[in-house]
């Protein structure tokens, strides 16, 4: 039998995808509960969400939110830290906690047959953590070591310098972990105060997805978390980005580096921006997926990099827009020139029908493949709560993407991308890359790894 290999086969009949039914409840203390059943594996994903992340940190005590989150499993309820780990292990549960800019999280994946006892421990960790001083001392010292390690990691250096230049020492300007100066200042009283102010029922949500009976899970969560105290809405500091008057290069010298880590960008927008869907399509086309303009240019046309990408960091306040690429020394200036050219070209309106259609159908079609597991579903529900998305958000996601036009893409590119006012951070071998970079006609400022003018 012979088949026609010369053209792609036509598709069969599409089968509908349905996001799992979400059972929602708001407890009297303000705690939001979201539960979704999924029975394709004997697993349950449990997520505790606190809507306070490193965005609540002050410059003085940067790292406090993530330190608080990290200490949650250092003993809770009647168990010390070792006992807690042992008992979770006996239930086939692994627990993790941490923060990003927008929120703090506790997560546990557990065998479904042990869901109920695991949930009891989970409630202890969120509502009755011991927060012992001895653990703070240890974790603080580990964190200082982590920060020390990052001083030799080119991508970490580039990311930090970029954020710091964009946001100064305020919100979004440090890392979630804090700085070598702020971390030693964190005291257990700060942690306990942060916990008391932010770990309150009306600032939190419990999300459960997996092989459980939803109504039973809601009942158990209600029983376990109803005693949790509520409190006044905690304060959220505002970002204070510095305006960029013209594009400039900041060069961090790493003698002997064989690659340059490049970051190019400026401030972006908040997650609740009205232009979210056109922006998402525009960015995917520009540098958000493998077949995007920037990656095809730098990687597939020129062989400059293993991968280049652009991203809008959608946070509760305006996160950065940044293009990132590690490239070899000799082509650093060429790569920079190509990226800047792509940032100009996306604004000209020359969007091809095919690339727009490909991008839209990718974004609209890929959703089911990204929510196969209980943990994926839990992650999507957590996002909805962090950003206050409407309950039917995922039901209308595809049509919102499909509605984006070429004109929309050009408009948001012009509105939100400004290639003449970008910060450029390059971490690399200054001896080899400085002179060719000069040919781009942009001012070059030297920085050391800590951001001091070198």
């Amino acid at each position: 039998m012979s088949i026609d290999r010369t053209t792609a086969p036509s598709p069969g009949t599409p089968r509908p995808y349905r996001f799992p039914v979400v059972h929602r409840k708001k407890l009297d203390n303000g705690l939001r509960v979201l539960v979704a059943e999924m029975h394709n594996a004997p697993l349950v994903a449990i997520r505790g969400l606190i809507c306070s992340g490193a965005d609540r940190d002050t410059a003085e005590l940067a790292g406090l939110a993530s330190m608080t989150a990290e200490l949650l499993d250092e003993g809770a309820g009647t168990r010390d830290a070792i006992r807690l780990a042992e008992d979770l292990g006996l239930l086939g549960a692994s627990l993790a906690s941490g923060s990003d800019w927008d929120a703090s999280y506790v997560s546990a994946d557990v065998l479904s047959r042990n869901f109920e006892p695991a949930m009891e421990i989970f409630a202890d960790v969120l509502c009755r953590p011991a927060l012992p001083d001895s653990a703070l001392q240890r974790v603080r010292s580990e964190r200082l070591m982590d920060l020390l390690q990052q001083r030799e990691e080119p991508s970490a250096i580039a990311g930090k310098r970029f954020s710091n230049l964009l946001y100064g020492s305020g919100t979004y300007g440090n890392t979630v972990l804090g700085t070598p100066e702020s971390v030693p200042r964190l005291k257990i009283d700060d942690v306990r105060r942060f916990y008391a102010q932010h770990y309150i029922a009306n600032n939190a949500a419990i999300v459960i997805a997996g092989d459980i009976d939803a109504e039973q899970a809601v009942r158990q969560v209600t029983r376990l978390f109803s005693p949790w105290k509520s409190g006044p809405e905690p304060h959220r500091p505002r970002i204070s980005p510095a305006p960029i008057d013209r594009s400039k290069i900041y060069l961090v010298d790493r003698p002997n580096a064989v690659q340059s880590e490049i970051r190019i960008g400026h401030i972006g927008v908040a997650r609740n921006c009205d232009d979210y869907f056109p922006l998402t399509v525009m960015n995917a086309l520009l540098g958000g997926v493998f077949n995007s303009r920037i990656n095809l240019n730098l990687r597939e046309r020129h062989g400059y990099t293993y991968g280049a990408r652009s991203a809008f960091a959608f946070r509760r306040q305006a996160g950065p827009f940044v293009v990132s690429a590690p490239v070899r020394n000799e082509v650093t200036h060429h790569s920079l020139g190509e990226v800047l050219e792509e940032l100009r070209r996306i604004r000209t309106g020359a969007v091809e029908t095919r690339e727009l259609e490909d991008t839209r159908s990718y974004l609209a079609g890929v959703f089911p493949a990204t929510v196969q597991s209980a943990s994926d579903i839990a992650g999507r529900l957590v996002d909805m709560e962090v950003f206050g998305l409407p309950h039917d958000y995922f039901d209308h996601y595809r049509e919102n993407i499909a509605a984006v036009t070429a004109k929309d893409v050009t408009e948001v590119a012009n509105k939100y991308i400004d290639p003449d006012r970008v910060l450029i951070v390059i971490v690399g071998n200054a001896t080899q890359i400085r002179e060719p970079l000069g040919g781009l006609g942009l001012p070059i400022h030297d920085l050391d790894v800590d951001g001091k003018i070198a």
């Binding site: 792609a8 089968r15 390690q149 062989g303 590690p326 990718y362 079609g365 597991s373």
Partner: protein, 418 residues
């Protein structure tokens, strides 16, 4: 219980179908039984470079079009290379099963006509950048490469990592690519696994249509591997640009799937997994001389390995950390493993396995592995049996036999002087 349909086409292609309608998706996954272990010294990195080439188009699929076809219908895709195999995979909305099979069969059967020197030159540069990004330009980046150099003799195929050396990457020619393809990328050296929302009889017809007429190789170069006999520890101290000293080790183990490899897997969990695990508790939690410690086994076909690494805190001599690790390992081997410790390790293995089967793409990959390495897709239903059967004595035996100095190699990264 998963229902598998395994069969073989007349050209030798092994096929495994697993129908599952819980999501409107289909995972198409191919394992070619070739990896960096089939390279020879002086030609390292070739299997992986070749993987890149296989995304650069075939007779009926243009350059970069493979990615475009998959992404533009909402699919996700990639490939990867390891010592023993190279895999290619895409997850697609289920109505696009034929598209996935068309793309994969085109590069299996019709790759050579689309090959050009320019494509090779570009991908060679991309792979060199991959090496720089992940190995040469980051702290500790070359640790695994250095360990392999110590653990295996130079003519032994696990002596080098899949990324290969810069020098060898530079010499790969178009003729090498052609020869490599013709030798290895044949239906009788491949397992095709399809998992998801399709009707088996229909999928079977499509697989026949797209793959049935691709010519087999019939035979493949033999692979003779003689395991290095462990006699004494090989070790090195490597000054480099790192902020903190870190110790890396490989302990030799039997091949993946063997009873003692399974015991080694459970043992690695007893050693490092959470605060209650032996090494984490002793070094990180109690003595506070390590910033991190991790132990895990590698999924390798020819012979097994248990990796262990630990970072010393600032001001802690690496010798002291190493002594503390060895003291814990000796204490473990000379003592007992409690019933609770064993249960916790087994639970973790059970959760990991459940995750492996949860997503279509991970499940297809696991089935491809079982079929490629063990010629037994049905092993998916018994894979956990040796884990469940393992006893504390099994773990102790492996600790006593394998976690000993003469069975290991050690590479210690220390900060270089100013």
């Amino acid at each position: 219980m998963l229902s598998l349909v395994p069969y073989r086409l007349s050209n030798g292609l092994q096929v495994v179908l697993n129908e599952d309608h819980s999501a409107p998706l289909v995972a198409v996954n191919l394992w070619y039984h070739v990896g960096s272990k089939n390279e020879r010294p002086g030609r390292t990195g070739f299997a992986h470079l070749f993987e890149h080439m296989l995304f650069s188009g075939s007779e009926h699929v243009g350059n970069n079009e493979h990615f475009r076809y998959v992404q533009s219908v909402g699919g996700v895709l990639n490939g990867s290379t390891f010592f023993d195999r190279t895999n290619y995979f895409e997850t697609l909305p289920s109505q696009y099963l034929a598209l996935g099979l068309w793309l994969e069969s085109d590069r299996m059967g019709f790759f050579l006509p689309a090959l050009t020197q320019e494509k090779l030159d570009i991908q060679r540069e991309v792979v060199k950048e991959e090496r720089r990004q992940h190995y040469d330009n980051v702290p500790y980046g070359t640790a695994f490469e250095r360990l392999l150099n110590l653990a295996f003799d130079p003519d032994y195929s696990y002596h080098w990592p899949t990324i290969g050396s810069m020098e060898d990457l530079g010499t790969a020619s178009l003729d090498d690519v052609r020869a490599f393809f013709s030798t290895w990328y044949r239906p009788d050296n491949c397992v095709l696994t399809v998992v998801g929302d399709f009707v088996a009889a229909e999928a079977r017809r499509l697989v026949d249509d797209y793959f049935g007429d691709i010519a087999p190789a019939g035979q493949f170069p033999p692979f003779d591997l003689v395991r290095r006999e462990a006699r004494s520890e090989r070790r090195e101290v490597h000054p480099s640009r790192v902020p903190l000293p870190r110790i890396y080790r490989i302990y030799h183990l039997p091949r993946m799937g063997d009873r003692d490899w399974v015991a080694g897997d459970l043992l690695s969990t007893v050693l490092t997994s959470d605060k209650a695990s032996r090494l984490e508790r002793a070094l990180v939690y109690e003595q506070q001389i390590a910033n991190d410690v991790a132990a895990y086994v590698l999924p390798t076909e020819a012979t097994g390995m248990l990796m262990l690494h630990a970072t010393a805190k600032e001001g802690v001599e690496i010798e002291r950390l190493e002594q503390a690790i060895d003291a814990e390992l000796e204490r473990l081997a000379g003592g007992r493993i409690s019933a609770d410790e064993l249960t916790r390790a087994k639970n973790r293995a059970e959760v990991d396995h459940a995750h492996q089967l949860e997503n279509y793409d991970a499940r297809a990959d696991f089935i491809g592995m079982l079929t490629t390495y063990f010629n037994d897709p049905e092993r998916i239903s018994t894979w956990m049996d040796p884990y469940r059967a393992a006893t504390a004595d099994d773990l102790l035996r492996v600790a006593q036999q394998s976690l000993v100095p003469e069975n290991r190699v050690t590479s210690i990264f220390v900060p270089e002087g100013p």
